[in-house]
């Protein structure tokens, strides 16, 4: 057996290792960075969670983001209003089929309130049930009586003017106490009032805000990651090259990059997306352009300082070629700081993307995006606070996760901040 041929100490070491849990192994790490370590750990978990949500939004979203699934402007947690049948408790009428009459008999009178969409629901349901009854000698053709207010309709039920009434469940519940002899039956459309509402409410056209939030994660991450990656792939080589070659070319690139860097990125992105027109790809391009100087600056600076190190001189003296020095010695030393910048960069790109779509630029308006949702919610800020509050919180959480990770890593790795 192979295990028998191994030395004893290795066996012992393996056994010892088995005894330590992963937490103990992490805690007994050589260096302990305190709160910064925790900031990085917590934000890493958050980032991971957002990435999973972004890849599989369907697992978390209860509804589709594009289809109206409920009434418009439903407040968070409020249950949707249902057209329910109410009648005297003694009448025994609890659902629409209780109103069936033999063909030719006088039609039962059912009250509705003017200006409330229950009459339409009642008509549609009654017609459908009636068509099923054809040939059985029965029919379901209620005569609709319209009342001015809900109270009048309920009083009508109490007085016997109408046999029953179809009213909005939420409005009925508010005044139910005044009419003790009236009972609430089933909804004429089939749903029950306890079906529950939408956890974060619905928007103007009845889409579920929560589902749109979940699906918005995907577009935010796509924009953030792609824009930062494109900027990285362009900015890092330019920075390496400029720092390594130096001279006039370096200065020329430097002036361009500095101008770009000092200019408000959002304004440039506004111009680019306005010309390119709305599409996800265009937003990515517009934002990527803005962040090339960020990578350029950090990589160039690092390259300049690494270039002077003794080991580069040593490599050069043993005859290493320039390309070799660049790829094998300088590049690996520059990468850690690029990784930190990348994390902060993704956060920034998500913010810029949200700002663009808030202004109505960049993304096509039919995409489930947080910036677009806030822009639309802003039009009804007086009545529907939840339409702007939650998408904004979502942007904040995602950006916070990436920023905190970069911030914590920076604090840990920045040699200047190390205590002496």
């Amino acid at each position: 057996m192979t295990t028998e041929t191994r030395p004893d100490y290795e066996q012992e070491w393996r056994e010892n290792l088995e005894k330590v849990g992963i937490v103990r192994r992490m805690l007994s790490g050589r260096k302990w960075f305190g709160v910064d370590w925790w900031l990085v750990a917590i934000s890493a978990v958050m980032v991971l969670a957002f990435i999973i949500i972004g890849i599989f939004p369907g697992w978390f979203a209860p509804y589709s983001p594009d289809i109206p699934v409920g009434p418009g402007f439903l407040a968070p947690g409020a249950s949707p209003a249902l057209p329910v049948l109410v009648s005297l408790s003694t009448s025994g009428i609890t659902e629409l089929s209780d109103l069936e009459t033999p063909s030719g008999a006088p039609r039962p009178e059912v009250g509705v309130v003017k200006g409330v969409p229950t009459a339409q629901a009642l008509n549609e349901q009654a017609r459908e049930l009636n068509s099923q009854l054809s040939g059985t000698g029965k029919e379901l053709r209620p005569r609709i009586v319209r009342f001015d207010t809900l109270e009048e309709a309920l009083q009508g039920v109490v007085d016997g003017t109408v046999l029953a009434a179809v009213v909005q469940s939420n409005e009925y519940e508010a005044v139910a106490g005044d009419f003790p002899t009236v009972v609430e039956g089933k909804s004429v459309t089939g749903g029950t009032a306890s079906q529950g509402g939408f956890i974060l409410g619905t928007n103007r056209i009845g889409q579920d805000v929560f589902s749109r939030l979940i699906w918005g994660t995907r577009i935010a991450l796509i924009v953030g990651f792609s824009a930062s990656l494109v900027a990285l792939f362009l900015g890092v080589p330019i920075g390496l090259f400029a720092g390594f070659v130096g001279g006039k070319l370096d200065r020329f690139i430097g002036v361009i990059m500095d101008s770009l860097y000092s200019f408000p990125g959002l304004i440039l992105a506004i111009a680019i997306t306005a010309v390119l027109g709305p599409s996800v790809l265009n937003v990515i391009v517009a934002i990527a352009v803005l962040y090339i100087p960020t990578y350029y600056r950090i990589v160039r600076g690092q390259t300049l300082s690494v270039k002077e190190e003794t080991y580069i001189e040593a490599a050069r003296s043993i005859g290493a070629r320039r390309r070799e020095i660049l790829t094998k010695y300088i590049y690996p030393n520059v990468i850690p700081s690029v990784a930190i910048i990348f994390s902060v960069n993704v956060a920034d790109a998500i913010l810029t993307g949200a700002g663009l779509s808030f202004l109505g630029l960049g993304l096509p308006p039919d995409i489930a995006d947080w910036g677009i949702d806030i822009a639309q919610g802003r039009l009804v800020i007086q009545s529907a606070w939840w339409l702007i509050t939650f998408p904004g919180l979502a942007i904040m959480m995602v950006v916070l996760a990436f920023t905190m990770m970069g911030e914590g890593l920076m604090e840990i790795f920045n040699p200047k901040l190390r205590e002496r």
Binding site: L266, A271, V275, G355, G371, I388, T389, G392, E407, K416
Partner: protein, 378 residues
Amino acid sequence: MGSSGLTLRYPLAMSPLALIFLIIGVPALTGLIYVFVRGSAGLRRYILARIALTVPMVLILGTLVFLILRVIPGDPVSSALGPKGSPETVARLKEQLGLNDPLAVQYAHFLGSIVTFDFGNSLTGGHRPIIDEMSERFPATLELVTPAAILALVIGVFGGAWAASRRKRTTDYSMRIYSVVIYSLPIFWLGLMFQLLFGLRLHWLPIASRIDGVAGTTLHHITNIYSLDALLTGNWVALKSVLLHMVLPTLTLGLVLSGVFVRLTRINVIETMQQDYIEAARARGIHERVVVYGHALKNAMIPVITLIGLQVAILLAGAVLTETVFSWPGMGSYLVERISSRDYTAVQSVIVMFAMFVALISLAVDIVYSLVDPRVRY
């Protein structure tokens, strides 16, 4: 009380933009000339080189915007006219705007417009000269951006120094979390939340525009910086209205910016605190508060000033969104309005104006920096 008593009766019949350039530019220029004449040879050389660098900066950004708006596929004229525009109208407008000229000729025209400040007329909305529209809008942006920057500076510098003086303690971590959270807030959302809370729920503050309708009619527009105009004419009713309108936009922009400033100040003060002279000051028994705010913060301010100068970009980008949220009629909302009406001549001009503003600010910061820190000049 009326505003008639103290009215200056339009002593200066000039555009607000020119007036603002006078108010800010003349003292700045005088200072610059003084420094230039009295300064050392090294300082003189540095200032000249720095001024020379400003020109390519504006030029590069202008060229970039020119290229973006002209070369990138997409036809501004047909999209401006929409589906209604017949091919003839499109062709006529293109001819009128000089879009049929060779690119080089268009570029020359464009450079000429930067030098002469004559940006042509706007495509829509009254066809007024763009420079007139901007001279109304620019003071509004200035009135928003200046107090916001001061607010951010105060919070940032003192918060950052406070955090640094209590490194790795609760204060430090709370300030750092504050700065990260504030940085992560979408500025337009913060503005909307303030509107929701202070405007619509509590009814404490107005949430849109720069001044009340009634007070606005009594105000004489001299510089178009409303608070300054109200002060100059002694119109206290208007001044109160203007200040109330300024609170929420300024707070929004200033708070968001303060996050970055806290971070910059904290890192720089911590670096300074590790210097030997801090140790020496402590050894002499100087009170810790004096060590932090007197010695460390003072020395850390030198790099902080430069870094803060670089944040002008964040300030202006934030201003675009803040102005849109609060219907503040400044340069940012002008840009957004012109973008949606597809008036690319105006868009191009606004961006060039922004570029000039940024270039001038960074020039000013660098020159101040060179005065404070003699090491820079050489």
